[in-house]
Point group: C2
Chain length 104, copies 2
DNA sequence: AGGAAAGTACGATCGCGGTCAAACTTTGAT
DNA sequence: ATCAAAGTTTGACCGCGATCGTACTTTCCT
């Protein structure tokens, strides 16, 4: 389709909301995504994560993370790359991601 | 009633579970309870909180917080006192409560 | 003893979120 | 031109948790 916008919307730092962030991080699948991104220290394509849900469910989880501001997404060919917005999160909620990605 | 145990069960530090803690803290009412306890720096009776739900709902929220290990409860007359288990939480999940009770 | 105060227990309701399958779109490779 | 790969969208289902009112229990006060 012509004009199909493939760049999804991302919230700005000023729009980060603790409630939304917590709702995103309370789900184990989504927390696993964040943990894998943090451990890798690099971008990861949606399909390259180790997840235990279907593709459509995974799409849903990535959307929730993106709309909460935890990840940034951009296309690279047919793949969608995911970037952890670490510095921005740390700026608004210092210590939060550290506490949740701690190895225990 | 005779033999009615009025001391509820509290998890030990070794039983603290991140998933349960997050499920407890994701609810705004429960997070408000934790925030009020943290700000007061003292025990607060169930009825002395500023909450926007019914008594029975409040009881439910206190139970969830207690079973996650976030608060300790004990009776004082007809009142039930609530204590934030700050040090124990900090020991197991360093930085988590700091991040969530930060004034923003 | 009687009543009020402070919570708890129990059902019932109800909306939201996680899940999947199926159909579709876009891009890249042959 | 086809075909495969990678995600998305839509719709449906379903279970869980937040909520409330009512009835009940325990303790304190007079």
């Amino acid at each position: 389709m012509v004009g199909m916008e493939r760049t999804p919307s991302h919230p700005e730092v000023s729009e980060f909301d603790l409630q939304k962030v917590l709702e995103a991080l309370v789900d184990p699948v989504r927390r696993s995504i964040v943990t894998q991104l943090d451990a890798a220290g690099a971008d990861i394509a949606c399909g390259a994560f180790d997840l235990s849900v279907s593709k459509s469910t995974a799409t849903h989880h990535f959307k929730v993370l993106r709309e909460a501001g935890l990840i940034r997404q951009h296309y690279a060919g047919t793949s969608r790359m995911n970037t952890l917005r670490r510095a921005e999160m740390d700026e608004v909620f210092p210590g939060l991601l550290d506490a949740l990605t701690a190895t225990r």
